[in-house]
Amino acid sequence: MAIEIYANVLIAGVLTGLVYGLSALGLSVIFGVIRIVNFAHGEMMVMGMFLALELFRWFGLDPLWSMPIAAAALFAFGYALQALLVHRVAHLPEHLQFLLLAGVATVMVSAGQMVFGPDARGAQVGYALDSYAIGPIVVDKVRLFAGAAALGVAALLFGFFRYTLLGKAIRACADNHQGALVVGLNVARLYALTFGIGAACIGAAGAIILLLVDVHPYLAPGYTLLAFVIVIVGGLGSMPGALLGGVLIGASEALAGFLLVPSLKSAFSFGVLILVLLLRPQGLLGRVAAP
């Protein structure tokens, strides 16, 4: 088969993977700092999607412009979740933390179902069917914008953690909880902030991905699992790892869907997850030791 077709599939996969990577960044940030596995991840992403959908339906707002709004809304949600619920189980055994978030996830999915109904809805933007052609390479406009937006947000996030005082404070908490307390950092507030930031990433990713996918409440578990696959492959606690993992998974899913039966492509991701969990649980770039 012609190399251009492979290239097109690959590029589409990489661009989609960037959006996956952004959502996985949210998961990774939360785990890397607070050491909590956010099982309600997919549900938060769907929340971002629904928000962008409603803004599109009522105001015709392009999801790319709703992205900051979704990010802000999910930030508030994540902050509240950590400050009110999650911090109360911080000292309990790990499985209880997991189960708390599983409970929250269930509440969110069913709430979504009650409010929006089970049918899939999408946001058809004006340029949905347009594409750019660079020589033999054809790229969907929506996919290109989505990937670029995701990359942009990720860059902002990296910048925040690297260059701002707040970002450094949060990294300090992640590196040494006791030490952070000792130097007077308000760890509880920083944790809430971190959860909010992670949630904001997820919300932004949700808004962006609406350009590519239709939304319905049962999309959530799939996204949670996808994010886990990415984060574990890329390495828990590593931010570049999350992006890299996203791109890898996006690309391999696209190729697998193209070469094999399309519906089997998720099975491929799970196969990869199993292999990584067994052979290299710290992932490709992981810093944090596997629990």
Partner: protein, 336 residues
């Protein structure tokens, strides 16, 4: 805050249990079809909750893909029946064997590669999802269109092939649930039970005291999966149709954990109590909000219940109840 695992069966609770059994045994006579189906479901979740509880409460392995073992049991027995005419009482052996084999395989991977906690849970989810997607493509098992069991007349009781009225399935599940309770109690009081409880508290100290941690955990996995496989057989013949999307659904796997968590993980009665609390509650609320057409209100309430329990009474309702009702055998304070 430390979690305490309460010790097994107080005498007064056993009496209450016998009374419950008596009530449930005569229920079909007074209940209408809808109520019977709800009770059947309650018992089903009480049963699979116990199965799940053995793997987590006793072996410490968090499984969030338990629908996998139930689904394997369902498909194995259904396929044997549909394609080879082999009845469920013979088919259950293969169903159980397969479920146990897969479960032990996953557990072995976990031990071999030293995976525990959340990572192990993810491993179980991954296997369940993988199986679901692959099963979607196996034509011989019906793929996405589903596997259907031939339904003969619902009024004739054919116990050999598990064809019959809902009452037959009800009594079967009632028997299974109470048998599971009896077996669990027996296990907890056996050498294996002592070893499990030691491992649960401190695996290293248990090993230093001569407990073979690996075999004890594998035994728990095997028993849990065997019980789940049996549940799967019952499920297939009760509903008469199987779809990978439903049989291996991660939502189902998560729902299975709700009753034990609310009732009390690691306790004997927790799963049963939890099922009897959550399901009637769910049905009540669904019925009350019928007019509002709130799709999914049941899961909503359950999710809230789980969150509330984790925040307020992480040990579950049973230890709390036990403390209040003073069902402790000795005179000491029991702290939930």
């Amino acid at each position: 805050m430390r979690l305490r695992w309460p010790s097994p069966v107080p005498r007064r609770a056993t009496a209450a249990l016998a009374a419950l059994f008596a009530v449930l045994a005569v229920a079909p006579i007074v209940a209408n079809n809808y109520q019977l189906s709800v009770l059947t479901l309650v018992l089903y979740y009480a049963y699979v909750g116990q199965a799940w509880n053995i793997m987590f409460g006793f072996a410490g392995l968090l499984s969030l893909g338990h629908a996998l073992f139930i689904g394997i049991g369902s498909y194995a027995s259904a396929a044997l029946f549909v394609h080879f005419g082999i009845g469920p009482w013979a088919g259950v052996f293969l169903a159980v064997a397969l479920a146990v084999a897969v479960g032990c395989f996953i557990a072995l991977l976990g031990f071999r590669f030293a995976i525990s906690g959340v990572y192990f849970a993810l491993l179980t989810i991954a296997f369940a999802e993988f199986t679901r997607i692959v099963c979607d493509h196996i034509g011989w098992l019906g793929a996405t269109e589903g596997l259907f069991l031939p339904v003969s007349s619902r009024s004739r009781i054919d116990l050999a092939n598990l064809r019959g009225p809902p009452e037959m399935f009800y009594y079967l599940m009632l028997t299974l649930t109470f048998a599971a309770l009896g077996v669990s109690r027996w296990l907890l009081h056996s050498k294996l039970g002592y070893c499990w409880r030691a491992i649960r508290d401190d695996p290293e100290a248990a090993a230093a005291t001569g407990v073979n941690v690996f075999w004890c955990r594998m035994a728990a996995v095997a028993i849990s999966c065997a019980a789940s496989g049996i549940a799967g057989v019952w499920y297939a013949f009760y509903y008469n149709n199987l779809f990978p999307e439903i049989a291996f659904d991660i939502g189902k796997s998560i729902e299975i954990t709700f009753a034990p968590i609310v009732g009390g993980v690691g306790t004997l009665f927790g799963p049963v109590l939890g099922a009897f609390l959550l399901f009637p509650l769910g049905e009540l609320i669904t019925g009350a909000t019928q007019r509002l057409g709130l799709e999914g209100i049941k899961q909503f309430i359950w999710g809230i219940a789980v969150v509330a329990i984790v925040l307020l009474r992480p040990s579950g309702v049973w230890p709390w109840l036990w403390g209040i009702l003073g069902l402790a055998e000795t005179g000491e304070e029991v702290r939930p």
